[in-house]
Amino acid sequence: MLRRRRLSSKGDTAARTVREDEGERKECRYRPMRLLAGCLFAAAGCILFAGCLHHEPPADLVIINFTEPESLDPAIVTGIAEMRLTKALFEGLLRLDGTNARPSPGLAERWEISPQGTIYTFYLRSNLAWSTGEPLTTADVVYSWRRALDPATASDYAAQLFCLKNAEAFYNGKIKDPAAVGIRALDSRRLEVELEHPLAFFPDVCCMPVTAVVPRQIIDREGDRWLSARPLPVSGPYELEAWRLNDKVRLHKNPRYWDASHTQSDVVDMLPIGSPNVALNLYETGLADIVWDKDLIPVELQEVLAKRPDFHAYDYLGTYFYRFNVTRKPLDDARVRRAFALATDRERIIRKLTHGGEKAAFHFVPDGTANYQSPEGLPFDPARARQLLAEAGFPGGRGFPRLQFAFYSAASGGAKLQGDLAIELQQMWRDGLGIETELRQIERKIFMGVQSRLEFDVCASSWIADYDDANTFLDLFTSNSGNNRTGWKNAHYDQLLQAANSQTDVHQRAQLFREAESLLVTEEAPIVPVYFYTGFNYFDPAKIEGIWQNLLDEHPVQSIRRIKARQTH
């Protein structure tokens, strides 16, 4: 590239005639062309000017939100970064409180539960309106829920609504009539929801984005492009002012929101920065106020950063674990799986690799989950591990086939840790059990597919709670769950969970869950939990208020504000 262009004389491309004379006479012939060329240059200059002059006022609050949202449709989003945005734009019947992440009234001001626990009656607030002025009624709620369950919408989280009567059948196409689904409007303010069986955490489900109320008036008109409509009618605390790909999402206060008087910041920018170092740079130079996502911590600097007062670590409900493919020999033998679990030294991993104060996980449901205390789980006991392995027919690891440990890794941030973890685990199994495993790094994009198709032996996994209840974790491994991805099916486990979810008494429920979890991590061990996640976010508590640390990492945008005004650069 340095020399290539010099050698190509432009003379090759045009038949040029170089005249000997000065060419003064040629001037008049080229006047129209001069004019044209002049115009083109002027046009170029205008573009330049226009680009330079584009200058919008600074936001009140700038938050770095990790990834670029693929969509802002609350019914279909699955990523946490997107959910933070949809929660700011669209609200549902209930919302999670920012201080303790418990369900609190949203669009509905109160609700009643029938004695059997299967019928909920919600009372919407009076005078609810969309940001564009139309009244918001129960018809909108019914429309939104039916849309989420409609197979044409292709919502991944629709399964959360299967607790509704006939919802699953409607989603699978067995029932065609949406009116058969257990939600109906009694009048413009009262809504009745009928469940298949009582569900203790149904209020938490009502806080999820999949239940958020979406504007029927726009969706009917625009179809798939409804999010491009401006102004976009929203039901939440903020309106969508601008959504520029890989640039920012700009929100401004929705004055028609029922709680608008408590919205703290007027204009909020959410930046999709994926690199932890860039996020840190922006934060340090004052161009960003808050950085929140556990993947945005530069792992190498974690020890230094953790000492600073503006870096906040908190526990949250997420577990890193590894799965077995129990359909492959010899992993179909529970003794082999238990041996792997007993040989995993969690303390070493936490000490050596993760520096954020994570906790070792011997059971699957993270500590701190509401109304629940987990059972013990398998400890670190290499001697017993070897014994079990010998019992299973592989004394000292002899004769054990070479397995592959699949994981995905990234160059930096939280995902980079996976590669290091894989290497540690490989070493542990080698030293403790005498088993050789191969590491197989898979691209993130196809990783999920590989898991679903059970094309692995052992693979790294993680799960983050959708709501604050043990069921969100234990539910993964029921026989029919799409998130199971181990091939493990156990009828007794399914029964236990079903009984627990029909149970209204909190203690009984916890007891049933404990039995199920024991079965999962101690007896059968189709998975081995490794550690519970610690989250990190950073912001200066002297300048920002309105963020409270909680287990679900739930920080409603409308509660946050800057105390001092930010200087523009």
Partner: protein, 315 residues
């Protein structure tokens, strides 16, 4: 006319490029819908593929891409299927034209600023090194030009960032939006080209200065500056003008690095992200756009050449 002929070549060329690029991009497995969390159930996946017509044969998809497909709707009437080139497969709520409309001014501004930087720094340096031969301006200028063409943008950009934005905090470290944001990216991008321009101008001036008509102009009694500026410079700048075409092309591609390191939301970032995400429509659209831009810019450069060199005519 010559230029008309060249303009006529453009549409069939673009069509060919679009077809090739479309087919190439479609060969990639791992479509745009592999999810991160939770599997899409097979029914959902099938529904999505059907909705975006990814299950049709490639040629039909291409025809649909161009808006050339008519099909029966559920009521049995023939309807024109809207051209699907406008739908981004990964970002389903943005149309391709909206994405380009948002990113193009940013990249165009960056490109033109860097172009201006290259000329604005390179031309004076080249001029003065040739005019003041043998003196300190010559040595300093030549050394500068030599140094900057040795260091590619992908080394300059991180270095500039490290020194000026992070260590000394003089400029914003990333993003786009105010003139301050534009300083470091423009410098990083334009520095290399300013060196090339300086060297080209220097060589051009040194080649032209001994020629006869300059001596004649001097003999006529014109002032030295007038001679040099009006006559010598006009001819010496011709190699720079003809280099402008390839320079703009390299500016365009060089901007990928700059946009990536400074997180500037321009076309380069979009192209890279879309090709990594197998977002067929955006990738093809951007490839086309770049091709079109370059062809047009080359034409523009040829116009400029004609303006400046009175000795040249096209047949």
């Amino acid at each position: 006319m010559y230029f008309l002929k060249r303009l006529l070549l453009v549409p069939p060329l673009l069509l060919l490029i679009s077809f090739l690029a479309f087919v190439l991009v479609h060969l990639a497995p791992g479509g745009p819908f592999d999810r991160d969390r939770g599997p899409a159930s097979p029914e959902i996946e099938r529904a999505i593929r059907a909705k975006y017509h990814l299950d049709e044969p490639v040629l039909k998809q291409y025809a649909r891409y161009l808006g050339l497909v008519w099909e029966k709707d559920p009521h049995g009437h023939w309807r024109h299927a809207p051209a699907s080139f406008d739908i981004s497969l990964k970002y389903r709520n943005h149309s391709v034209t909206a994405i380009i409309a948002q990113a193009l001014p940013v990249s165009a501004t960056l490109g033109f600023l860097a172009f201006g930087f290259a000329l604005g720094v390179g031309l004076p340096v080249g001029y003065f090194t040739s005019v003041r031969r043998g003196r300190w301006e010559d040595y300093a200028g030549s050394l500068f030009a030599l140094l900057v063409i040795c260091v590619p943008a992908l080394v300059v950009a991180p270095l500039l960032l490290m020194i000026f934005a992070i260590h000394w905090r003089l400029f914003p470290v990333a993003l786009w939006g105010s003139p301050w944001h534009a300083v470091l990216p423009t410098t990083a991008l334009g520095l290399y080209f300013s060196g090339r321009v300086a060297r080209l101008l220097q060589e051009g001036m040194l080649a032209v200065m001994p020629s006869e008509f300059i001596t004649a102009a001097r003999a006529k009694g014109l002032g030295e500056n007038a001679v040099l500026l009006k006559h010598a410079f006009r001819l010496a700048v011709l190699p720079v003008v003809s280099y402008s075409g390839p320079m703009l092309a390299d500016l365009l591609t060089g901007s990928f690095i700059i946009e990536s390191i400074f997180q500037i939301p321009g076309l380069g970032m979009q192209l890279i992200n879309s090709s990594l995400n197998s977002d067929y429509t955006v990738t093809v659209a951007l490839a086309l756009l770049y091709a079109l831009l370059l062809i047009l810019l080359n034409l523009l450069v040829d116009f400029a050449y004609v303006l400046l060199d009175r000795r040249v005519a096209y047949q």
